[in-house]
Symmetry: C2
Subunit: 224 residues, 2 copies
């Protein structure tokens, strides 16, 4: 297999949206990983950690798998024509076009989710229809060659789904054992239905304000 995996990174991405899938997909036999950004300059993530791209949009080879992570930086990324052009151009030749978390809106702004079932971070799912997508509340969604994952940690489940699709169940399970992916959260608050009421209402409140801002930003991008 000679398989090119391309991650798109941009300032203020949620780093685990990217680093989770990276840990899984980098181990696919015969694959090469590219981390593409506008330039080779270090890219700041949301966690104080800066990441080094391995290539630029101009120099990146054609992806077999294109993956766009999310984060607060999606607002700027989806408003950036150079980023959208890179994503559109890569998506044309890619076998798999994918996103994690709010990276779905970069795909959406590039016109790649039209008529597709898709998911994103729970707080932003109601905005998927703005980019022509059909909202799903599943953690990982496949529609044709488009795979989308939910918020942040959903990227790991997303990556194993993709790994099995690309390299087969046996390889995907081998990676799962190697990175001991046998999750055991010490408490249960990872979804709106499982979180205690006080936690849910506070976190929903914070994200509702952010989603309203994001909705306006999305309108601006889509009206251009």
């Amino acid at each position: 297999m000679n398989f090119q995996t391309v991650f798109v990174i941009f300032p203020n991405l949620t780093q685990l949206d990217f680093t989770g899938p990276l840990q899984v997909l980098h181990r696919l036999p015969g694959s090469t990983t590219h981390i593409a950004a506008r330039s080779r300059d270090p890219v700041p993530s949301d966690c104080g950690l800066w990441l080094l791209p391995t290539t630029t949009f101009a120099q990146c080879p054609q992806a077999d798998l294109l993956c766009v992570p999310g984060g607060f930086g999606v607002s700027a990324a989806m408003a950036d024509e150079e980023t959208l052009q890179f994503v559109r151009r890569q998506a044309e030749g890619a076998r798999y076009v994918t996103s994690v978390c709010t990276g779905a809106f970069v795909l959406g702004a590039a016109g790649l989710l039209s008529g597709k079932r898709a998911t994103t971070h729970w707080a932003y799912r109601h905005l998927l229809e703005k980019v022509g997508a059909v909202r799903s509340d599943a953690r990982v969604v496949r529609d044709g060659n488009v795979f989308t994952g939910g918020g942040v940690t959903a990227g790991i489940d997303f990556a194993f789904t993709i790994a099995a699709e690309i390299a087969g169940l046996d390889i995907a399970q081998s990676i799962q054992l190697a990175i001991e992916y046998d999750p055991s959260p010490p408490f249960s608050a990872g979804s709106q239905s499982s979180a205690p009421e006080t936690v849910r209402s506070r976190v929903e409140g914070i994200y509702a304000r952010r989603a309203a801002e994001f909705s306006a930003e999305l309108d601006t991008v889509l009206l251009r």
Copy 2:
């Protein structure tokens, strides 16, 4: 709260050992995250991704929480006196001394696991007694102020355990909802007991060879 979280990074770390806990612990209210290495030069991870330290061993402030990730680079890290001295010095003043995956052996080589119950990546657990630790097969282990996590993705469960300890259940659950940590692996092969026999025997074989090499490296470090 004015809380200093210090991650130690070194060449060829398994990046998710670090980036998983980083995503959780960076959100603790009132905390500051430091990513410390020997120098400010970019540090290569196991995935083709290079990470930028935010500080050096010489300049890093005293940690409240010290966290050492693992990976193949642990062999060189535990053989490096400068790294061990940093870890020992920081551990003296830290409220929490922690590791993920084979980062446990950096703590162990620094003499910090003596008599402590601890865990590490499943393939290396039998070596914990070499550093004086009492082996546990749990995913996350606490003994006094020492918290250890199992292999790679166990770092996320580890981080939520620590987050609840430091900031309380309500904050930890809020972070869990924010990063949608409601894991749903598409198949079940993340532990030796759940992996299919063919997967388990192949992956165990690969790691047995690596663990034998690592055991010899550990002997060399401990005999110095």
